[in-house]
């Protein structure tokens, strides 16, 4: 028994809570011109659990006064700096922030809200916690714990014989062993050292250990250990330990901001987190909370009036844990970090992980996928099983992954389709074939290609005879139409002309790893990719031919607040700006004239976007990948068992994509046209050069300067070069060079 006492003291002295890494979303940057309405701003503050008040009190509150919002910002720790609590006034017009001012009335050019905590990386035994220093604990909490759980905590020596006797008396009457009579120290011992099985021998050991601890440590130490250690709830396989995390888990805000009824609720939960689960047994918990309040008043911890007021307050618990639970995104974060960190570093070392996740984009992606899949399910039913889907949203210029949805049950921490569903990319491959064609210098947007039957004899004597989706054969068509309408035969012709190795090499340059198998069927997208890999490929197209490794983690900060590792933006040029610009303009035509045109009914008018649909064989996979000036979104829709969906990319994934892009409220795609590329008017159906007014089928395409395109008869083009026309061309170039 003596040995037990010594060993427990030693263990406790060297105690290190396993501190799971805390994962944060990207902070919202506020600046004049940012497109946020007062309602949006209030929503963002509520997401961070700022409380709306009429008079600003402590940090974590805000006040709305017409178009002016005053915020008492909390202190915040960002990846690159810390900031103290401060007052901020935001003047927001109808559509955007007009100005920001500090407490002294000075203009603030840019300021961040604190990053939203989106989860933690806890070890396999499931213990998750946020450890608090005694200074971070409101004094009401220890007072309330003593009043309700252990009245003689300050005076007893680890065990409380009086309380035990009373508990035995109650137990005898109830006919079973119940919790109770244990001091806070005993509860701490039980949680920290022992399993929860209650036997008499175990009770004895617990008592001995409690006495040993009490002899060696101050009451303040033990109280702080208790506040950080005790079990307060269960969330799937994640065990909520300590009041710091419990406060986030039940109320979504720091413990320091809880008021009397909220603290009383947490104290009520201590007695049995499952029996008194506030989300499942609200009535039961309410009754116990009010019992706690009554006890606090009786022991003069709070006044009778305050307790009575608090007893009238609702529970105030958030409907879902913490309100920000993004398992698919966290999955990506974990996988990113496992390349650089051991599991123990992540689950024990108290790291802060700063990610690229943008809660607004994540919400838009989840909402659109859930709603559109429900609608599509309604159109076609497949053996009782629902359609599934996945979404990845990036910021092309930085490669930041700002949203990931791994399935329609967005809160389900299981199969993550965005990262693990490896499916045929179908026509998503076509832009890379046409990019290869543009790079070769032998093709441009107006080049006529042949949409004609293909019959390839493969090794082994089999024949490959692909068809168009419509089963039609269209004959000679310009490149712009072949891509916009996703014509298979024309594209296969181009791909075979370029050669499979060339096309495979383009895909590899844009990040497909390993490179695809060089089979002819590759040209129609018999290449399996995950939605995340598709996003990597298209990010390079949306970023002008620059590849960025897609990034979920921006920085890892150590427990001491020092940056441990930064993951800066990286770019690699993988294609010429000229070729990618020409291709991107073709992808804009896909949206305006081709398989993406239905999106414009959903998107804001005038928003310029580029994209491509993808449908794999027998409609098993429905894809859409596309970009605005600010965002790239990839959507996959299909069944988990790979059954045909009956939906093309345009029918299945496109509406999901369009709703997400509309909700993101991004800017138009408007890459600057490289020197060496000119705009030219072309007839969509024939590829002939036209002038405004001489064709009702005119598209303006990006063409290499000096591209020679036959003019449409009757449009006023000469087919012979005159000295005058040569002179004109030269002088135009000359002026162009001077003006710019």
């Amino acid at each position: 028994m003596l040995y037990l006492g010594v060993s427990v003291t030693r263990t406790f002295e060297g105690r290190r809570w396993t501190l799971p890494a805390q994962v944060y979303a990207a902070p919202l940057e506020l600046y004049a011109g940012l497109a946020l309405t007062p309602a949006d701003l209030a929503h963002e503050l509520e997401r961070l659990h700022y409380r709306r008040v009429t008079q600003l009190e402590r940090p974590g509150t805000y006040r709305v006064n017409g178009e002016r919002i005053d915020v008492a910002l909390r202190p915040a720790r960002f990846a690159d700096e810390t900031r103290d609590a401060q007052l901020l006034s935001i003047y927001a017009g109808a559509g955007a922030i007009v100005s920001l001012k500090d407490a002294a009335g000075h203009d603030v050019p840019v300021i961040r809200l604190e990053p939203l905590l989106i989860g933690s990386i806890f070890p396999s035994h499931g213990e998750d916690r946020i450890v608090l220093t005694p200074q971070e604990v409101p004094p009401l909490l220890p007072a309330a714990l003593k009043a309700v759980e252990d009245r003689r905590f300050d005076s007893h020596r680890g065990v409380d014989p009086q309380a035990i006797l009373r508990a035995l008396w109650v137990d005898a009457r109830a006919g079973q062993i119940e919790q109770g009579g244990s001091t806070l120290t005993q509860q701490l011992v039980r949680s920290y050292f022992l399993s929860s099985r209650q036997t008499l021998g175990r009770k004895l050991r617990e008592a001995v250990m409690a006495v040993a601890l009490d002899a060696h440590f101050t009451k303040d130490d033990l109280m702080n250990a208790y506040i950080n250690e005790i079990f307060l709830g269960q969330d799937g396989n994640r065990a909520i330990h300590g009041f710091g995390l419990a406060s986030q888990f039940y109320f979504g805000k720091p413990l320091g901001e809880l008021d009397l009824p909220e603290i009383a609720l947490l104290v009520a939960v201590v007695r049995g987190p499952s029996y008194y689960d506030p989300r499942r047994h609200a009535d039961r918990v309410l009754a116990r909370r009010n019992l706690v309040l009554k006890e606090l008043a009786e022991q003069h911890v709070v006044s009778e009036a305050d307790a009575a007021d608090a007893a009238r307050a609702p529970l105030g618990v958030t409907p879902r844990p913490a309100g920000a639970y993004y398992p698919a995104y966290l999955d990506f974060v974990r996988r990113t970090l496992r390349r650089d960190y051991h599991d123990e570093d992540l689950t024990q070392a108290g790291l802060a992980i700063h990610t690229s996740l943008e809660p607004r984009a994540q919400d838009a992606a989840e909402r659109s996928l859930e709603r559109e899949l429900a609608r599509l399910d309604h159109l076609k039913k497949h053996g009782g099983e629902g359609l599934e889907g996945a979404v990845v949203v990036t910021t092309p210029q930085s490669g930041d992954v700002i949203a990931i949805v791994g399935g329609r049950d967005v809160g389900y921490d299981g199969f993550d389709r965005a990262l693990d569903a490896r499916r045929a990319m179908g026509s998503l491959v076509k832009p890379f074939i046409y990019l290869t064609a543009l790079e070769s210098g032998r093709y441009n947007a107006a080049t006529i290609v042949q949409d004609q039957p293909v019959d390839l004899k493969l090794a082994g004597g089999k024949h490959w005879r692909p068809e168009n989706f419509s089963r039609d054969v269209n004959g000679p068509v310009p490149v712009v139409r072949a891509l916009a309408e996703s014509l298979n035969l024309a594209t296969v012709g181009v791909g075979l002309d370029l050669g499979l190795p060339k096309v495979a090499e383009t895909l590899a340059r844009f990040g497909l790893d390993p490179p695809p198998e060089q089979l002819p069927a590759m040209l129609l997208g018999a290449v399996n990719v995950t939605p995340l890999e598709a996003a990597q490929l298209y990010n390079g197209l949306a970023n002008g031919g620059f590849r960025n490794p897609l990034r979920a983690v921006r920085a890892v900060i150590g427990a001491g607040g020092k940056a441990v590792k930064a993951f800066p933006v990286q770019v690699t040029q993988v294609a010429t700006p000229e070729a990618v610009y020409q291709l991107d303009r073709l992808l804009v035509e896909v949206m305006d004239r081709g398989t993406g045109r239905a999106a414009h009914a959903i998107l804001p008018a005038q928003l310029v976007v580029g994209g491509k649909s993808g449908t794999s064989s027998e409609y098993r996979d429905s894809w859409f990948a596309g970009f605005s000036g600010s965002d790239l979104t990839v959507v996959w829709v299909g069944y988990d068992d790979n059954a045909p969906t009956g939906f093309t990319g345009s029918a299945g994934a496109l509406p999901v994509w369009a709703h997400i892009m509309a909700d993101l409220g991004g800017s138009s795609w408007s890459a600057p046209r490289p020197e060496g590329v000119v705009d030219m008017d072309i007839e969509y159906g024939t590829g002939l050069r036209v002038l405004p007014g001489c064709s009702d089928d005119r598209v303006t395409l990006a063409m290499p300067a000096g591209a020679q395109v036959p003019g449409k008869p009757g449009c006023g083009f000469s087919d012979t070069a005159s000295p005058l026309s040569t002179f004109l061309e030269r002088s135009e170039r000359w002026v162009h060079a001077l003006v710019h």
Partner: protein, 164 residues
């Protein structure tokens, strides 16, 4: 001078209309047909779409100033993080990419500096000043990698753009 040139071209273009319709060229070919060049008409769309901010906004400017202070203090990682904040607000501003490239170069990451210089160039179409800054950065990156001949060429390009 510039007005006169534009006038000259305008006259020339109107002459083009007088050039008269002639029977069209051959319609369908599988590739670009070789042959005489038709007259080029003036581009219908401006090279740079309207609305692109020529000047950095106050938020990005403030962050750029902060990044300069951090870089001057040798805090390159922090300077990079601050520039990334600015780029999230203005991803298409070439000078911010040049600045990020300079921070990379200061940290000895010449290859990234070069790539960021080229990213800036791609965004700087029609903006001589930004192009010059990008070429200067690329020259620095080439020099850092011992590629003197190419560095001199990049410096020449930068100088030519600045002289304009």
């Amino acid at each position: 001078m510039r007005t006169a040139l534009i006038l000259l071209v305008a006259i020339a273009l109107s002459a083009c209309a007088l050039h008269g319709p002639l029977p069209g060229t051959s319609a369908a070919g599988t590739a670009v047909p070789a042959g005489p060049q038709p007259p080029t008409v003036a581009p219908e769309h401006p090279a740079t779409p309207p609305g692109r901010p020529a000047q950095m906004g106050p938020a990005a400017s403030a962050l750029l100033a902060q990044a300069h202070a951090q870089a001057n203090a040798g805090e390159y990682v922090a300077a990079g993080a601050t520039l990334e904040r600015a780029l999230r607000i203005e991803p298409d501003t070439p000078l911010l990419w040049v600045e990020l490239g300079r921070v990379q170069l200061a940290q000895g990451n010449a290859a990234q500096a070069d790539a960021m210089g080229r990213k800036a160039l791609a965004l700087a179409s029609g903006d001589g000043e930004a192009q010059a800054a990008a070429w200067t950065l690329i020259a620095g990156s080439l020099r850092a990698r011992g590629n003197t001949a190419e560095a001199v060429e990049a410096e020449r390009r930068a100088a030519a753009l600045t002289a304009h």
